[in-house]
């Protein structure tokens, strides 16, 4: 394959896919260890109503409004789940099931009822994303990476997801110790005077941030795959938190690259003519990686 074809059509989706996978996998590690994996599930569902409401209020697809809407939706969902759990005395899993399905249903209906034909926002897009369409038409080959004019034509999603990855890495580096302590022993963290509720809520908001940025590129269901599969596979590889995060980033990158290549070129290799969904393939590959670690990972067994 020549650079003149690869750079404009495949380079940017590939990079965006990798960044989205990493952005979700990083907070996913902590969600897994805190037994809150399904918070990732809930968040990725409630991002949809958040974005739709933000769109209806502002009338345009603006990155800031969407991020804000999604973050507000995520916090609303967490507040509702906690409210039902505490006041209604309902088990957390069921409370979560009530809230995220209802909010997702509301988002879908709002989307169907409102006139969004002028913008790129529909239910299918929300579910599978549009990774393949994030192309860089101004590029003519590898040399375009050095041309200012061509670089201006990069899809804005790239900068958005890159900024989110930087923010998440920074947050992780700054709050590493309190986050790690409160993840493994919340009671101990509380006795140290750490604000455990704020840390927990902060993790949810960071996850929402990752979800909404990745949502743009890969759609909501695939976001869940990246929240859960790479960290879960990494959890079966090692007992150390730092190593687990490194493994999870590796697995996320591997899923994104292998998945993207298989989706784009796999069908051609076996004689097909059209590419299949890249987002779906990335999720599938992450599942295959998880299956392999579940069968052969060195730390797969439950601690007895």
């Amino acid at each position: 394959m020549s650079g003149s074809e690869f750079v404009p059509l495949s380079l940017t989706p590939l990079i965006i896919g990798c960044l989205a996978a990493v952005a979700c996998a990083l907070p996913g590690n902590f969600l897994i260890l805190r037994r809150q994996a399904l918070i990732g599930d809930a968040i990725s569902h409630v991002v949809l109503p958040g974005i739709v409401v933000a769109f209806l209020l502002t009338g345009a697809i603006s990155a800031t409004a969407m991020m804000l809407g999604a973050a507000v939706a995520a916090v609303t969902a967490v507040a509702m789940i906690e409210g039902i759990r505490c006041f209604g005395r309902i088990e957390a899993g069921a409370a979560m099931g009530v809230v995220f399905t209802a909010m997702f249903a509301g988002g879908v209906l709002l989307l169907e009822l409102s006139d969004t034909s002028g913008v790129h926002l529909d239910v299918e897009h929300a579910l599978y994303g549009n990774l393949e369409s994030l192309i860089w038409l101004d590029a003519t080959g590898w040399g375009s990476l050095l041309e200012i004019d061509a670089l201006k034509g990069l899809p804005p999603e790239l900068f958005r997801i890159a900024a989110v990855v930087v923010i998440i890495i920074t947050l992780l580096a700054v709050f590493w110790r309190p986050l790690a302590i409160s993840t493994f022993d919340e009671g101990f963290a509380a006795t140290l005077g750490l604000p455990v509720t704020v840390i927990s809520l902060g993790l949810v908001i960071a996850s929402a941030l990752a979800a909404v940025a990745a949502f743009d590129a890969v759609g909501s269901i695939i976001v869940i795959a990246m929240f859960i599969c790479p960290p879960a596979a990494a959890h079966l590889m090692t007992n150390r938190l730092g190593a687990q995060i490194a493994w999870s980033v590796g697995f996320a990158l591997a899923s994104a690259i292998v998945g993207f290549v298989l989706a784009g070129y796999g069908p051609l290799w076996i004689g097909g003519t059209d590419a299949v969904s890249a987002a779906g393939m990335i999720a599938t590959v992450s599942g295959v990686i998880l299956a392999i670690t579940a069968v052969a990972g060195p730390r797969r067994r439950a601690v007895t």
């Binding site: 399904l38 039902i84 088990e91 099931g97 009530v98 209802a102 997702f104 795959a225 599969c229 069908p267």
Partner: protein, 401 residues
């Protein structure tokens, strides 16, 4: 239009669809209750998302073999097989590896769904796939449903209900007390299998109407809503069935009026509205009734303690107590009792003294356990017992020289 739909007057097909949806809602509410009691509500989320690759593969297989790919029984069979695989994967991951059940659920639902999406894009490129309409399985649609399909859904819902009626006892015992169930000779693994099989069945027959993303709501929301109406498990099951049926009935009728909107979200939002109303206003455990109980209890304690203080001539510093006593006409703003208050206070003091005596008597142990500072002893002991207590306390005695 909506009212006509609600009362089955929109033609034979729409009526059958609404009827089928209602039966499905009842079956989902009843089945979901056991899942809720077993604290495994979200397992159904993994099951429902895991149906997608099965639906897509069934379509591909049927088209390849030369049949009509949209044959509903065939698609549902495929979805059942892949849902079973997904369920098995969740069980295996959470029992054989160190991953917790929630991580296993999330992993299975996203991977199966992602693979299903891959297959859907494959179908779109097939020559007969353009008008496959499999997207309807994501969010549900009743538009253009065939007579046979509606019959299949109604029949499936009825069958699920019959199975629940047969297996309700072992499932209930396994949900609340697995150890006891095991010791009474119930095969736990088999009961769990039946329960999950029922959940799978409801999911599969609900795919067409509610869609696979939201069918889980029909399994979770009605039981949670029903929980506010009763503390008894058997009633919760029945109420959940009723609420589920009601949601599906109203939702399907509304969707018959607005055929362009996906059916699933309408049904789910109806269920959520019923849930919200239940959480706020249900007479057994609703928030409103809890708040009223709490307030009455608080008032009772304040008045009682205030009267005890008055009877013993102690000053009252708590502003709320004084306010309540004033409102009842028992005391003045400066904490001095009115004549009414003096009478009530001495009655309360006598009650306290009787309780004190009763609690020191081992023979009255059972009754004394009901002392909570509010219950009057007349409500617990017979007049004879109280008279006996009074002789022990003794009446007011004159001063002996």
């Amino acid at each position: 239009m909506f009212l006509e739909a609600l009362f089955f007057q929109l033609g034979y097909n729409a009526t059958l669809v609404t009827f089928g949806a209602t039966l499905l809602g009842i079956a989902a509410g009843v089945t979901g209750s056991f899942l809720f009691f077993r604290k495994r509500a979200l397992v159904s989320d993994a099951i429902s998302h895991a149906t997608l690759p099965g639906v897509a593969l069934a379509f591909i297989v049927m088209v390849t073999l030369g049949f009509d790919g949209r044959n509903l029984p065939g698609l549902l069979l495929g979805s059942a097989i892949s849902a079973a695989l997904g369920l098995f994967a969740v069980q295996w991951l959470s029992s054989r590896t160190r991953l917790t059940e929630d991580a296993a659920i999330g992993a299975v639902l996203s991977v199966f769904f992602g693979f299903g999406i891959v297959l859907l894009t494959v179908i779109q490129t097939m020559s007969s796939g353009r008008q496959a309409g499999l997207e309807g399985f994501l969010l549900g649609s009743t538009a253009g449903m065939l007579y046979a399909d509606a019959l299949l859904i109604a029949g499936g819902g009825a069958l699920a209900l019959i199975l629940v009626a047969i297996f309700r006892r072992p499932m209930m015992m396994a949900s609340f007390d697995p150890e006891f169930a095991r010791s009474s000779g119930i095969n736990l693994d088999r009961t769990d299998l039946i329960m999950m099989g029922l959940v799978m069945g409801v999911t599969v027959i609900g795919l067409k109407i509610v869609g696979l993303i939201l069918i889980v709501a029909l399994l979770i929301i009605p039981p949670v809503a029903a929980r506010f109406w009763s503390d008894r498990a058997d009633r919760v099951v029945v109420i959940a069935g009723g609420l589920g049926g009601l949601s599906a009935w109203i939702g399907a009728s509304a969707s018959a009026v607005a055929p362009n909107l996906p059916t699933g979200p309408i049904i789910v939002l109806t269920a959520f509205a019923i849930f919200t109303a239940s959480m706020l206003f249900a007479p057994a455990r609703g928030l409103l009734i809890s708040a009223i109980h709490h307030r009455n209890f608080q008032r009772g304690v304040h008045i009682r303690q205030g009267l005890v203080s008055l009877a013993q001539g102690q000053p009252i510093y708590e502003p709320m107590t004084i306010r309540l006593l004033r409102a009842e006409g028992l005391a003045r703003a400066d904490g001095v009792p009115t004549p009414d208050g003096v009478a009530r206070a001495s009655r309360v003091l006598r009650d306290e003294k009787r309780w004190e005596t009763a609690r020191s008597d081992p023979a009255l142990e059972m009754a004394a356990a009901r002392y909570d500072g509010l219950t009057q002893i007349e409500d617990v002991l017979t007049p004879d017992q109280i008279a006996e207590l009074d002789t022990r306390i003794g009446g007011p005695r004159g001063v002996t020289p």
